[in-house]
């Protein structure tokens, strides 16, 4: 941890060959099991080059969290994760004073009844030192001596006020602690924020970030993801699965199937030793892809139409 005034040492993964160009990143990410397209790789590349956070927004289950994890794996660096939830506050996101320890420290000082002012002041300085500070993910990422990947997951779940707390970290890579001063990053972390788009994020936050919309993958990419994650499935069925899921996504659904659901389905098909798709097997396993009653009924009707 460095105090205010230290020069910001701007090391990232700039030396890592995998981060040297968007196309190198596509290859690198594939080597750790993540299938990225040119757009994803470009944004991640720029985030690393420009020291800017990336905000990845899109429907659930499209590989947002996995992207941050894969970037860390590729860089061989630590992943520090802040999982957001409603009610998350400063003390869980940034830091907290360890008041238990502080109180015990005061207790330990008790014998000296009638402490002088001077003594009290030095005790106070003692109490608000790093020893009594509990670093939460944001501060932890800032304080790390080596470059890390900071994942702020599902940021749309926190209230607007909490979102504001993160801005200093995202813009300046520093945290101000009134009792202690400003903690600045030694090496800027690669920051990935994700949002399932359940709420509009603030302009201020968006302005500080590079923006990446992660939608359902193209047919080709989804097929490649299936093959990567469920290799037992074989080329042909993987292509059929991708095509079928894309077809279902075209229906007027309450919730369209995501990549996670495609993978669940693919695994099930393998377990059932299915070689090629049919309306029958699809209908029988639809509940792995669709979760709403209305969606299930609609899709079953469509598939039955094909059989007739």
């Amino acid at each position: 941890m460095s105090a205010a005034g230290d020069p910001l040492v701007r090391t990232r993964f700039s030396d890592a060959p995998s981060f040297s160009s968007p196309s190198a990143l596509v290859d690198g990410l594939r080597s750790v099991g993540y299938l990225a397209d040119e757009q994803i790789a470009t944004v991640l590349y720029l985030a690393n080059q420009l020291h800017k956070p990336v905000l990845v927004e899109g429907p659930a289950g499209t590989g947002k969290t996995e992207l941050a994890k894969s970037a860390a794996a590729l860089a061989g660096s630590r992943l520090i994760r802040l999982q957001c939830y409603e009610g998350l506050d400063e003390s869980k996101a940034l830091y907290e004073w360890n008041y238990r320890k502080q109180l015990l420290r005061i207790q330990a000082d008790r014998p000296a009844e009638g402490a002088t002012d001077g003594r009290w002041r030095s005790l106070e300085a003692d109490l608000f030192s790093e020893e009594f500070l509990l670093a939460r993910p944001l501060l932890e990422a800032i304080s790390a001596s080596e470059p890390v990947v900071l994942l702020i997951d599902e940021v749309d779940r926190v209230e607007l006020e909490t979102e504001a707390l993160m801005l200093e970290v995202l813009a300046e890579y520093q945290v101000s602690i009134p009792e202690l001063g400003t903690v600045r990053a030694r090496s800027t972390p690669l920051v990935v924020l994700t949002s399932n788009d359940t709420r509009e994020l603030s302009e201020a936050l968006k302005r500080r970030c590079l923006y990446l919309h992660l939608d359902y993958p193209s047919l080709e990419r989804e097929r490649a993801i299936v093959l990567e994650r469920v290799p037992e499935i074989g080329e042909a069925l993987a292509g059929e699965v991708a095509r079928m899921v894309a077809s279902l996504r075209k229906l007027e659904l309450e919730k369209r199937p995501s990549v996670s659901e495609t993978l669940d389905w693919a695994r099930t098909l393998v377990l059932l030793e299915v070689e090629h798709l049919s309306s029958e097997i699809t209908t029988a396993t639809l509940s792995l892809l669709l979760k709403h009653r209305h969606d299930l009924e609609l899709a079953a009707r469509e598939l039955a139409g094909e059989r007739a």
Partner: protein, 473 residues
């Protein structure tokens, strides 16, 4: 590059995207950090700085095509073959171009997935062959698009292919070859054809935009291609497709609205210190209150009462309104919704029971008893009936939302009834889809209702709805 980027961001701003100096500077830095790479990398880099909302992606892409995508060899931009130009250009294929028959064959193969011919390449060939671009004729892109699609007979080819798929007289593309279930295979095959046709159409548009921009300049072409962003589409004139796009923006908005309405009720996230519990716990640490205990804060969801005009004069708005009500339903502990024309009926149950918005709207349209007399809106009458039958729905905890144009077909307004509701409620807001300039003209009653409302806001599009939501305090 900086000059182009400045012009580019000006154009995005004119297209309605919220672009400030920050975004432009970010884009400049991004392009500087980029290694030499293809247009898709540049597109991604610029989009990362300029597009912070998916619904803006399309508008961005259009402007990008015009400004940055390289126009290929300008061969087809040569002077028209015949003097006089325009009209039909018969025969006389310039050398080096595909003849009509082989182009048709290439199209059929590409659409059915039997060839590797790249669709963007095919688009370029088609534009070259059929567009007959004349730089100095003041005609828009849609004219050329029409010519190319007709020359290519895209629609006819697609119909023919789908027919062949249905009849089973065409080979399926290799990736679907092994599906034995014929019904399913054909379904997927048809979709594949339609998908590729869609891609091809987009590529042709992009190709035309590029070529036109190369001769006429980027800015005028971009201007001619400008279309409303989702948030600027007028509710009153929204098509079904528009509505689909709006619907996606609506759910997040409903959530914010709910949060705003709820906010005043939970000041301070951490509850008050629970003194007794703290002391009790402190006994284990020798009386030192090591673990202060806090009471849980009280979260109460607000109550919402929605009164929505579903009459013909606001039909498109009404459909939108029902989407909003549906989205709000998941956010409030208690939403009671009422639809009215000249009668009024509670539709909360329909919304609760329907498993989809489509079903809900259908049922509201067929089951709700919203017509009491002649089926023309009667605001005074509907409010009076509401007060007589459902007054209990409105309490000091409710926020009332009235959605409608306030046009009462010259029925009496009974403003005192609405005033009575407003007094019972915590808040009463009115969202009006009609342009403010028309308020008070003809049979508009909005001026008589306005004094009872906490606010009457013009709400013609998502942008205005969003502003209303964000200004709620």
């Amino acid at each position: 590059m900086i000059g182009t980027l400045t012009a580019f961001s000006d154009e995005l701003r004119r297209a309605g995207l919220p672009v400030s100096l920050t975004e432009t500077l970010d884009a400049v830095r991004a392009t500087e950090a980029l290694p030499l790479a293809g247009p898709e990398v540049l597109r991604a880099a610029l989009a990362a700085s300029f597009v912070k909302d998916v619904t803006h992606q399309r508008a961005f892409d259009t402007v990008f095509e015009v400004f940055f995508a390289k126009a290929p060899a300008p061969a087809p931009l040569a002077e028209p073959a015949e003097p006089g130009g325009g009209g039909e250009r018969g025969g006389g294929d310039p050398p080096g171009e595909l003849d009509a028959a082989s182009l048709a064959a290439a199209l059929a193969d590409a659409l059915s997935g039997r060839s590797d011919l790249d669709l963007t390449r095919l688009a370029a060939l088609a534009v070259e062959r059929f567009a007959g671009l004349e730089p100095n004729r003041p005609v828009g892109l849609s004219y050329y698009l029409y010519r190319v699609l007709r020359g290519l007979d895209l629609d006819g080819t697609v119909t023919g292919l789908l027919e062949q798929v249905r009849a089973g007289t065409i080979e399926s593309p290799p990736e679907l070859d092994q599906i034995e279930d014929l019904g399913l295979r054909r379904r997927l095959q048809r979709e594949a054809v339609a998908d590729r046709a869609q891609v091809l159409r987009h590529s042709i548009e992009a190709e035309l935009a590029r070529r036109l921009a190369a001769v006429r300049g980027a800015v005028p072409v971009a201007r001619s291609l400008r279309r409303n962003l989702v948030e600027d589409i007028d509710f009153m004139h929204a098509s079904r497709t528009d509505l689909g796009a709006m619907r996606r923006s609506l759910a997040p908005l409903a959530r914010v609205l709910a949060a705003r309405l709820a906010r005043r009720r939970r000041l301070g996230r951490q509850g008050a210190l629970d003194f007794r519990s703290t002391i009790r716990r402190s006994l284990s640490t020798g009386g030192v209150p090591v673990s202060p205990r806090f009471r849980l804060p009280r979260h109460t969801k607000p109550e919402l009462v929605v009164l929505a005009d579903v009459s013909g004069s606001v039909a498109a708005f009404a459909r939108f309104t029902l989407h909003l009500v549906y989205a709000l339903g998941s956010q409030f502990s208690a939403v009671r919704s009422f639809a009215f024309i000249d009668g009024i009926d509670e539709v909360s149950r329909i919304f609760a029971q329907s498993s989809s918005i489509t079903e809900a709207i259908e049922r509201v349209e067929t089951e709700a008893a919203v017509v009491a007399a002649d089926g023309h809106s009667d605001y005074g009458g509907a409010f009076s009936r509401f007060a007589a039958r459902y007054l209990d729905a409105v309490t000091a905890r409710s926020t009332v939302l009235v959605l409608g144009d306030g046009r009462g077909n010259y029925h009496p307004a009974h403003p005192e009834v609405l005033a009575g509701l407003a007094r019972r409620a915590r808040r009463l807001y009115w969202l009006n889809p009609e342009p403010r300039a028309y308020w008070g003209s003809g049979d508009s009653l909005i001026a008589q209702y306005e004094p009872s409302c906490d606010a009457v806001v013009e709400c013609r599009n998502l942008r205005q709805l969003e502003r209303f939501v964000s200004e709620l305090s």
